[in-house]
Symmetry: C2
Subunit: 363 residues, 2 copies
Amino acid sequence: MKEEISPWESSNVKDYKKISKKFGIKPVPDNPELKENLYFRRNLIFGHRDFDKFLKDWKNNKKTSVLTGIMPSGPMHLGHKMTVDQCVWYQDKGLDTYVLIADIEASLTRGLSLKKSRKNAIQEYLANWMALGLDLDKTEVYAQSNRSVPYYRLASLLSKDTTLAEMNAIYGNLEPEKITSTLTQASDVLHLQLDDYKGNHRVLVPVGVDQDPHLRFIRDLAPKKDLMKPASTVHKLIPGLTGGKMSSSKKTSYIGLNDKPKDAEKKIDNAVTGGRVSLDEQKKKGGKPEECMVFTLFKYYFEENDEELEKRKKKCLNGDLFCGECKQCLKERVSKFMKELKEKREEALNEIDVEKIFEEENR
Amino acid sequence: MKEEISPWESSNVKDYKKISKKFGIKPVPDNPELKENLYFRRNLIFGHRDFDKFLKDWKNNKKTSVLTGIMPSGPMHLGHKMTVDQCVWYQDKGLDTYVLIADIEASLTRGLSLKKSRKNAIQEYLANWMALGLDLDKTEVYAQSNRSVPYYRLASLLSKDTTLAEMNAIYGNLEPEKITSTLTQASDVLHLQLDDYKGNHRVLVPVGVDQDPHLRFIRDLAPKKDLMKPASTVHKLIPGLTGGKMSSSKKTSYIGLNDKPKDAEKKIDNAVTGGRVSLDEQKKKGGKPEECMVFTLFKYYFEENDEELEKRKKKCLNGDLFCGECKQCLKERVSKFMKELKEKREEALNEIDVEKIFEEENR
């Protein structure tokens, strides 16, 4: 039977506790050092697998890696920012970071040509990753389609360590392209432990909850190849601006990082809020910030100061803050963010050595 | 529904016409030049797919390749000799020849480690191929596990050009390792047409009828990647010495190329013949050469002279040749062949540059 969350469809999870219990995702360890990170502090990263072990290895200066992936189909939007920020955070702490461009997966599961995937990966994604703080000099970026023989060899050999029944139980009924895609992704996470790379060590993969099935699958495979189970942290998925899922196929549901600031502002104007039907009622009953996409955007990205966020929430609950004012403030911050991002992105585009990432070193 | 012939099990086909009709294998073109080859002349190569087109390209000096594979599990036996002889024949005619070592397939479908596969591929197979006439200097030998990124990339991308239903129709129900194995094999046949290799051209794969399902599968895939459909010739499978299938798992059913001549002679002694229950009856009714494994061995390998073969057949049919005498003659030829083969094999083993075949050029 197919599960409620799927790595291949946009998801909108309502009850993270239920999901955690069902799939064995543990609550994030209560580590004061993690609290400096907004996502940990606000419980937006709500769960993990073996992250405690990863933290221990990190503390003990053992070999570690942090790996994240770019699916280069469609536009990059604010929802993707969470993963980037985490990756940058670990990088700033001195950890080895790897960013893979899932162009084989994009070709197999989304029908994109490799050429188009590559172009999109650079212009839409990697440039924004850099604008968001990723230091390319300290990052190993690679494309699946161009990785290496040991990487592909591992993907092939992993096929023996699972069964169709096991895969179908995790993913629903799979066709050959999704079987290949899934095994390729497993090799993304596991190949860093090959002797050709860094040897046995703990790899951390920060994911949104929709990607957790992959982690479960890959963690089952690891010991069969005498590799360590990868660790993961699991974050919440930011809902769509208009309610429901945030989905690339619905433009009004997300703020694209390459959107024009004016368009972004328009989307905020149309976003679902926790406001009441009338100003009078709002004054009386207060708003519902937990249901408000404007508040959610402050919480995830646009209010780093916890006290200020709490103040905003209280004002809303007390009926002292109205949606227009609140939206206006958000629009200003988003506009500023987008303008700065654009500048940094343009700088970044000049810095990216496309040839190096897609070079034919492995032919 | 699974077909009657399977590339993963020993097969014993009774009716080649029926198989040909069912799967669309065409009779070999009546080309006088082919008749110099014993297997063509005696209709042991009984069918083909697009071999006429291959012949035309060859005649017109267009690019062509001949590709064959070594499945490096178990011992190499006389049954394998047919493919080698064909490969050598094309090589002597000046065609580009490729020999792939299917170590990924051996690992996935037979559970052999890559290390064991490689050792066996060299000592049991490649050395015998060379002893049988393969010129290593004119052959590109590669191991699947070590080929190249474009090769693996193609295998991955091919997964999109088929469905589980199509694969199951050809192969029976497949698990992930057989899906991967089949796609890898498809890339073996098709990757030579990539720009990274020789570009678009007709590749010939001489196969036993048990491997024909692979060819049908791969020929369906080729146009989806804008590649030419590979051609094939299809040969009969020599039956087991003791009747039924020739199978590596039944030692008395085959003569291993690394067998001691004495053991080979013993196997011939125990082989099924077309002899009658008594000498008297044999004199009266004559033998049945078409059911006789001794005659079959002469026909396939140990009597190159057609007239002599015909003479032997007639003598047997007329009751003028008895099994003892016939076996004695075969044993002498087999012994001589095996002794010479051993010497050549030992020379060959010194010549093989194992490192070169399995070198880590692609890491």
